[in-house]
């Protein structure tokens, strides 16, 4: 059996070098401050994101540049995979499946808008990935499909077939993809947790902790959406919650959804596990959505602290790989957010609050 040193020494050195290349915080501040999209793209000129400027200046299409970012993010996972020990590959595949699921979701949305909502000429068709990510999914067939059965058949041999078959009646009767999207999320995390289970003890503990915080964040995002856009009964909300959170279990989620003073719910674990973040809990927020946004901020801070812990700790674990993915994802997310905000001329303060 391979030891941690042989499994992670090379990738650890490689990823630490790559982490040092991730754009620093002051760069994002500069980007947010830049007075126009053109000026922001100029700042990215001497970075690995110089291609974005090239694409935008040739096509005038920011979405096209974003598609390039997505491609490079997927490529990043594939690239890392080749340096990994077979035990870790399954986990990276599970992580990679989020892109496949998102892509499939987008394709289904295009079908849904055209066929069920009768909306024509969806330009989203041009910003979808047609290449294989993990499974052979004929995206063309899904976009051009005439029915959900046809989509399910196109996804035959993949885990998505069953999800589509199970939920398409509900989607058609409710006129909303909500349940199917939740089911895709559940599948993604279930698969991810299953791949974590196959890791050895030390790696499992680290991965569970990091993915657990991510699940917390995902659940908080859903709850914010439930509060703002859907009027769902508590049972439906709880059914949508992804199990496996690190800090927030179903009971806490229930409290968060119904409680007025949500910060008090969090005080227990924040004070014991992350005392440095207690100050955030004392922030005064007026409405429930702001409070939930505050919780999201706290969870994002927790994620940062977890990554810092991993990077400062024992180096030969799966933690370095997961941390790199999280850091890189955050970097790409910030670039996307800033460029879009600049495109739509959103004010600097708002951009900074979005980061």
């Amino acid at each position: 059996m391979a030891g941690p040193l042989s499994k992670y020494s090379f990738i650890n050195a490689k990823l630490r070098a790559r982490i040092s290349k991730i754009l620093p915080e002051d760069m994002f501040e500069e980007l947010a401050k830049s007075p126009s999209l053109e000026a922001a793209l100029v700042l990215l000129r001497d970075t690995p994101f110089a291609k974005l400027e090239e694409i935008y200046s040739t096509t005038g299409d920011l979405k096209q540049a974003e598609l390039e970012l997505l491609r490079s993010e997927i490529e990043l996972y594939r690239n890392i995979k080749q340096y990994l020990h077979r035990n870790s590959i399954e986990l990276v595949d599970a992580l990679l499946s989020q892109f496949e699921i998102d892509n499939l979701r987008n394709a289904i949305r295009i079908y849904f808008d055209r066929k069920i909502r009768k909306r024509a000429g969806d330009t989203g068709i041009h910003y979808i990935l047609y290449d294989r990510i993990i499974h052979d999914i004929p995206i063309d067939i899904i976009i051009n499909a005439e029915s959900f059965e046809e989509i399910a058949a196109a996804c035959g041999g993949t885990p998505y077939n069953q999800i589509i078959m199970k939920y398409y009646h509900t989607v058609e009767s409710e006129g909303s993809l909500f349940r199917m999207e939740i089911a895709f999320d559940h599948y993604y995390y279930k698969n991810l947790l299953a791949s974590i289970d196959k890791l050895d003890r030390r790696d499992r503990a680290i991965a569970m902790r990091l993915v657990g915080v991510e699940i917390d964040l995902q659940n908080i995002n859903w709850i914010i959406r439930f509060k703002n856009f859907y009027d769902l009964p508590l049972e439906a909300v709880l059914a949508a919650i992804v199990p496996g959170g690190f800090n927030l279990d179903i009971a806490v989620m229930e409290e968060l959804y119904v409680a007025q003073n949500v910060t008090s719910v969090l005080q227990g674990f924040v004070k014991s596990k992350y005392p440095g973040l207690s100050a955030l809990l004392s922030s005064h927020t007026s409405d429930s959505t702001s409070r939930l946004l505050l919780i999201r901020r706290i969870l994002e801070e927790i994620m940062k602290q977890e990554i810092h812990r991993i990077l400062a700790g024992y180096p030969f674990t799966i933690g370095i790989i997961l941390s790199y993915f999280v850091l890189k994802r955050n970097e790409l997310k910030k670039i996307r957010t800033i460029l879009n905000a600049k495109y739509y001329r959103i004010e600097q303060e708002r951009i900074e609050s979005m980061l």
């Binding site: 401050k33 000026a39 100029v42 976009i143």
Partner: protein, 673 residues
Amino acid sequence: MILTTEMIQLFAVVLAKDCEPVTETLLREGVMQFINISELENVKPKSLSEIKSDISLTKISDLRKRIEGFLFAGGVIPPAPRETDLNKRAVVNIEKENAFLDKMAGELESIRERQRVLQQEIHKLEDIKRQVELYGIGISDITLKAKHSFIAMQIGKLPAMNVKQLEDALQDLPSLNVALGQEDDMSHHLLISMKRDNEQINKILSKVGWSKVELPGELRSVRKDVFNELTTKLQTLAAEQKKAGMKVHDLMEKEQKRLSEIWINIRINELLLKIQENFASSSRTVIFTGWLPSSKKNRLTRKIRQACEDRCYLEWNQAGSLGVIGDEVPVRLDNPKVFAPFQMLVSNFGIPQYGTIDPTPFVMPIYLTMFGLMFADLGQGLILAFLGALGAYFLRNNEQKQGSRNLSWLVVWCGCSSIFFGALFGSFFGIGLFPPLWFDYHGIIAGHSAHNSAINSVVDILSITIYFGISVIALGLLFNWINIIREKKWIELVFDKGGILGGWIYGGGIYIVFYLTSHNYKEVPPDIMIFLLVGLPALLLFIKEPYHYFKHQEGQSEKKFNVTAIPNFFMGWIVELLEIFSGYLSNTLSFMRVAGLGMAHVCLMISFFTIAEMTSGFKSIVILVLGNILVISLEGLSAGIQALRLNYYEFFTKFFHGTGKLYTPISLSSSYK
């Protein structure tokens, strides 16, 4: 050059009415690194306030960045303002300039929108093209083979007057409309669209009076290749897209002169505001302070006096004197241009503290000697030097890539070092083409040394690197002593690991080792000699811990000596001794890597020659060429890294703290990124 440049601090008071000309002078001279008086709470009198400006620095910086966005989009990188531009400076009208930029942004936006629309068109056609490619072409016969095709094709006719209407209506949908010909007033068309859009397509077709027809007999001979049509259309769109992109370029070119002029004026105003940001003012006076090289003192004094017609008070304070404001003296490394690549290596490690030794001039020979010993080959050195020169040539005018330019020059230097050592060892692409000037490195490694010099074995080669290492470490120790003496830290001079006692132990240890080796490891120096060389300094080191203990107790009368401190003194002493012995030993042996890499270089070349000998003709040439490429890239990189590592960890750690702050004056050429 050997020490950091001597700096002097100026404290100036000028009349408020002279503030502008003095600021201009300071910018023109570009030698002062300012200290923001507002940030020095203990120094700033309460009556002083910041200078108020009509324009905010943030607004002016935003305006500059906005212009840069346009200039860069047109491929223009604005050059730094010149002195003559300073004379032509005008007040910046933010509203007016923003209005001009808004107008430009509007024009640019419409071009970008046109580009975006064109891109959408391209996407739509690419969508069809992809389908055609995926599910079979067969298009020349206007039939599709694959059952999975999502393409709908139909031939029909419509009144010629409705063709435009049809084209407009199809714009939002991926489709290809090919005109096949005209019969009377009816136009025949082949329409390719996506099946998923059938519903909408049918609506559009019924509106324009489309009626399906079989391909008319007279048109059957027109065998249009739809795939080619698609490609042509895509090419047309791509050309249009390129044209739209050129419009951006044209727009920028048209306005470039004005944009550049505005940029220069804004940049100058921004720099002036940046200087004034550090000023403090009372109702009638303005004060400022900052650092500059001592050599610039007289000129700046003269220029400031000229600017304010002698209505000023200037006070000069040498670094370290009582009147100095602030704690940190900025560091200026004043080396000739030729040292630039090596200064880059030093700065990469850190900036030396003010008043200490700047190792740049020493890094150059040490680094190059190490590199040459590891990578000694005249031919390969020539290639390295050529590649470096090529890089330096192409980057010669690119100020943005100064780091890469320095790196190119470093490669040139490394190449020269390889050439020099290659000549010493008689190696040309691994061949002994000429007699070595010093010794036959290849011969020794291959076991057929000519025995005509003092160096005859691998051990001799290892000894060279050990001697070299001892010299480098000794130089590091000497620099440390000089730095400590300059800082007047006398106790540190004696007791520091790199101090006199540490150096004494190191020197003694070296003598003992050489004595042993010169007596074939059979005899050690006399006991008294060993005691004097190593024992005595080791014993003297024991004083260090108690000294620090009692020094820190000073003034704390209530604290009394505790006997439990004695074991701590012993522990501290033993650990210190261990660190000195193991540290110096490993530091010295670390230099053996120079010989190791040099031998690896020779061995690799010998291996490639052996492989080449197994084949013949063209194959052997290919092997030798590939071998040389591999050796140059792999060994060159590895020798460069190892030489750097030895400098950083065996040389710098003896004397260099790297905690200095680089001198960055505000000048016309200050970086705006």
